[in-house]
Symmetry: C2
Subunit: 479 residues, 2 copies
C-alpha cells in the first residue's frame, strides 16, 4: 500500500535504514492517500455534498468507535469482521462497522423524531483486502437517510431520485437501479411454500443470484438449507422476472401470480404508488423492477434497491439501500421508521482515478493563483512584501523557500503546479518600480506598476479560465 507521490523516490520506501526497526508501512488493508489522490477524492465528496444539500440534508458526526454492545447482534455472520479495541481498563469498544447502526443509535440516544442527514466517514472491517479492486479494511462510506413517521413511499422515492442525481453528478457512466420489496419477497416465499422460519436464510441465498447462476443457488437452498426441491423450483419462476416498473407490475397482476398472498398484493400496491412518484421525479427510466434482488442485511422491512453500473468493464454495485423501520427501535423506546442508502464511494474514486491515468491529465493539487519569483539576488524581502500584499487581498500566493532560488526552478514549479500567473522581480523591476507578470497558460508577459499591483493582479486572474488547464503529462521538479 505504499503510494508514490509526485516527488517519490520509490527506492527509499522499499529499503528502510539498516538496523532501523521502525516499520514504514501502513497496516494491512489501509493506505496513505497522496495529494493527487486527495484532489480527486475531495472533488467527489464536494459533488456528493452538493447533491445532499440540494435536498435539504443536514449532517452529523458520531465517534469512530462505539461501545461493543452497540454493535453486537447487528451484523450476523459478519460480526467476526469487527475490529475491537484492546481492553486497557474501562469500557469495551469496537471500531464502527458501518454508519447505519451508529445512526440508529444516534437517533435513539438523542430522542430524534425526524431527521434527514448525510454522513461521510470511514468504517472498519477486518475483511480480506483486495486493494487493486478498491476493497479495503478502512474505507469511506457515504450515507443518506430519512428517519421519521411519514406517508407511504414519499421519502423512499426521494432516496431513489437522489441516487440518480449523485451518479449523474460524479459521472461514473451508465447505471440501473434494481428495485424490489421485502414484503413482496416474503409473500412470494410464502406462496412457494417456504417455511416462515426459513424466509431470511432463503432470502440470503436469493441475494447471491447477481453473482451465481440459479443452479448453484438452488443447490444451496436444497442441500445446505434443506428446502424442498419443488419449493425451490417455484421460487425460480418468480426470481427470474425483471422488467420496467409498470410493465412487470402489470404482468404480475395479469398472471395473478401473487394474488394468493395478502402481503404480496399489498406490496404491489405500494410499488405502484412508488412508481408514480418516480415518474414525477423523472427517473423511472433508471429503474429495473427485479424480483431477484434480495439484499443481504436482515433489517430491511420495505423497499430495497441496488444501483449497478452497466457500461463495459464497470459492472457491479455502486449504491444500495432500503427501508428499515425496526432498527432505531432496537435501541430506543420508540420506533423511528427510516429509509436510506449508501454510495460506494471508494469504487467511484477507483473509477475516476483510472480515468485520469488513462487521459494522462495533470491534476491541480493546490489552489495557488500567483507565484512570486526573483530573477536577481538578494530580493527575498521584496518577495515576502509582495506575497503579504496578495495574501491580505485573499489571493492564493506561493514563493520559493530559497533565499536565492534559480530562475528556472521557480518557473518549473509554477509550470508543474499549473499556477496561472508568475510575478517576476529583478534589478530592472526594482529600478523602475514595476513588476513583470507572465500568464503561464498563454505565455503572454506584461509589465505593471508596483503601485496598486494587487488590483491589477486580481483583474488578470478574473480573466483566466481555471477550468482550461493545459493537458500535459506529469513532470517533476523542485521549488
Amino acid at each position: 500500500p505504499v503510494e508514490k507521490t509526485e516527488k517519490a523516490k520509490p527506492a527509499l520506501a522499499a529499503k528502510p535504514k539498516k538496523g532501523n526497526k521502525v516499520s514504514l508501512k501502513t497496516p494491512k488493508g489501509t493506505q496513505d492517500y497522496n495529494p493527487q489522490q486527495m484532489t480527486i477524492r475531495e472533488q467527489v465528496f464536494s459533488d456528493i455534498k452538493t447533491c445532499f444539500k440540494r435536498h435539504g440534508a443536514v449532517t452529523i458526526e458520531t465517534p469512530v468507535f462505539e461501545l461493543r454492545d452497540t454493535l453486537t447482534g447487528k451484523y450476523g455472520e459478519d460480526s467476526k469482521l469487527i475490529y475491537d479495541l484492546a481492553d486497557q481498563g474501562g469500557e469495551i469498544c469496537s471500531l464502527r462497522y458501518d454508519l447505519t447502526v451508529p445512526f440508529a443509535r444516534y437517533v435513539a440516544a438523542n430522542g430524534v423524531l425526524n431527521i434527514k442527514r448525510y454522513h461521510i466517514a470511514r468504517v472498519y472491517r477486518r475483511d480480506n483486502p483486495v486493494m487493486t479492486k478498491g476493497r479495503f479494511r478502512e474505507f469511506y462510506q457515504c450515507d443518506f437517510d430519512i428517519a421519521g413517521e411519514y406517508d407511504l413511499m414519499v421519502p423512499d422515492s426521494e432516496c431513489l431520485r437522489l441516487i440518480c442525481e449523485i451518479l449523474d453528478q460524479v459521472k461514473v457512466g451508465k447505471y440501473l437501479i434494481k428495485l424490489n420489496h421485502r414484503k413482496l419477497l416474503d409473500g412470494i416465499f410464502a406462496i412457494c411454500g417456504v417455511p416462515a422460519d426459513k424466509f431470511r436464510t432463503i432470502c440470503s441465498a436469493v441475494d447471491k443470484l447477481d453473482k451465481s447462476p440459479w443452479a448453484e443457488v438452488r443447490t444451496e437452498m436444497v442441500e445446505t438449507k434443506g428446502l424442498e426441491p419443488a419449493v425451490a423450483d417455484k421460487i425460480e419462476a418468480f426470481v427470474k422476472l425483471s422488467g420496467k416498473p409498470f410493465e412487470l407490475l402489470a404482468k404480475l397482476r395479469e398472471t395473478k401470480m401473487c394474488d394468493s398472498n395478502k402481503d404480496a398484493v399489498e406490496a404491489l400496491n405500494q410499488m405502484e404508488v412508488l412508481f408514480e412518484y418516480l415518474e414525477c421525479f423523472g427517473c423511472s427510466d433508471k429503474i429495473l423492477f427485479d424480483l431477484s434482488l434480495a439484499r443481504g442485511l436482515d433489517y430491511y422491512t420495505g423497499i430495497i434497491y441496488e444501483a449497478i453500473l452497466t457500461e463495459q468493464d464497470r459492472v457491479g454495485s455502486i449504491a444500495a439501500g432500503g427501508r428499515y423501520d425496526g432498527l432505531v427501535g432496537m435501541y430506543g423506546k420508540k420506533d423511528v421508521p427510516s429509509v436510506g442508502f449508501s454510495i460506494g464511494i471508494e469504487r467511484i474514486f477507483t473509477i475516476l482515478e483510472e480515468e485520469y491515468t488513462k487521459k494522462n491529465q495533470k491534476i491541480r493539487q493546490n489552489a495557488t493563483q500567483v507565484f512570486v519569483a526573483q530573477m536577481d539576488k538578494s530580493l527575498i524581502k521584496e518577495r515576502l512584501l509582495i506575497c503579504t500584499a496578495l495574501w491580505n487581498a485573499g489571493v492564493n500566493t506561493e514563493y520559493s523557500y530559497k533565499v536565492n532560488p534559480k530562475g528556472g526552478n521557480q518557473l518549473n514549479y509554477a509550470n508543474d503546479n499549473l499556477i496561472p500567473l508568475v510575478i517576476f522581480i529583478g534589478k530592472s523591476e526594482m529600478e523602475t518600480n514595476t513588476l513583470s507578470v507572465k500568464n503561464m497558460f498563454t505565455g503572454e508577459q506584461i509589465s505593471i506598476p508596483r503601485e496598486g499591483f494587487v488590483t491589477k493582479i486580481q483583474d488578470l486572474l478574473s480573466k483566466i479560465d481555471m477550468n482550461a488547464i493545459p493537458v500535459t503529462s506529469n513532470t517533476t521538479s523542485t521549488k
Copy 2:
C-alpha cells in the same frame, strides 16, 4: 455526552426500553455532534482550509491506526495514553495519537523530499476527559507542515504568518504568539551550568512556567530533578525575560548574557533573520519573544512557538508548533527538515459555540432555498413535479413527506429552517396555472406564471441576502 438536537426528547435518551440491554451512550470522552454543532464545525474547517490553500498547501490522508511500532518511543511518558487495537491475529496496531508522527512516517515511506501539506483529522488519547472544557479522548487536530531542505527561517516565518491569518479568520479574539528557539534554550542551560544530560528534563520543567509560578518550577528542578540550586537561580534570570522581538534581541546582545555560548549566539542570529521576515509579513506585532517558552515535545530542534488567547475568559493555548529536523530521519534513510504547527481547533469550536449560544442566534443547518407547499389536498404529484424542475436547475428544494400536510406545519418548517422562499400551490393556482411565492424574510407574496417559473425563482433567490438571516430564538416544529 448525550447531546440534544433541535428535535430532541431528552427523556428518551435517559431511559432506554425496559429489559433492553443495548447501551445508548457513546464511549467515555467521545460524543455525537448534532447538525447545529456540525454547521459551526464545518464553517471553521472551511475557513481554515481557505487559509491553507491561500499558501498553496496540499492535503494527504493517513490511516486512523498505525502499526504499533510506528508510534513506539515517540511520545515519552504520554505513550500510556495510546489506544491499542485488540490482537485479533495479524498485525498489532494502535490508534494515532497525533498527526505529526503519521506525517513523518508518510514522508519517509513515500520518499517525499518536499511537501507543504495540511491535515485535518481526528486523533485519540486515553486521557482523563473534561468535556466541558473541550478536552476529549477523540478530537480533531488541524496540522500544517512544510518539509524540505530550504533556507534559514523562510518556511518558519510563513508558518507564523499563517497562524496569524487563521486566528484572524476564525475570529476567536485577540492573541499573542510566544516564540523561542530550542538552541537558544539549550545554550542558556549550558551557560547556567545545567549538565547536558539534563537539558531535556529541565526543558520540561521550564515548559510548566505558563501554569505554575517560578518557585514551584524551581522546586521541581532542584528537588525532583537534582539540579544545583545556584544553577536554577541562574536559569530564572533568563526565563523571566520576554518582550518585543527586536527589543529583547537587542537587550540580550547588549547585556552579553548569551555571548559565552556559541549555539546561543548562533540562535540569536537566526532569530534576527526570522524577525526581519516577520516584519515583511506584517505580523511582528503579534509576536512575543519569550525565553520561558520551552514546549513539551522532545523532537523540536529549532524555533518553537505557541499562540495564546489574551482576551478576558479566553486564556490559554490555541495553536503551537516548531521546527523538527530529525523526526522523518527516524523512519527513513534521509532526514527531511520540517517545520509546522497544530491549531487547537476543538477550543475554537467551543468558543464559537458559546458565542452562538450567548447571542441566541439561529443557525442555518441546511442550505435549502425553496420549500414547496400545498394548501389544498391531493397535490403531492404537483409538488414532486415542481421540486424536480427546481432540482434539475440546481436549486436546493424541500417539500413535506406527508401526502396531505397541514398548511401551518409546512410554513413552520420553512420558518424554523430559515428557508427564504416558499412556493404555494392550491386549487386556485392549479386553475390559473400559476404559483404563489412568498419571501419568508420580508413577508412579501407574489403570483408568478407556472410556465418558466424556475428562471423566475432563480431570479428571486439571487436578490436575497442569505447573510441577513433574522436573529430569533430557537423554536421547534415538525414537517
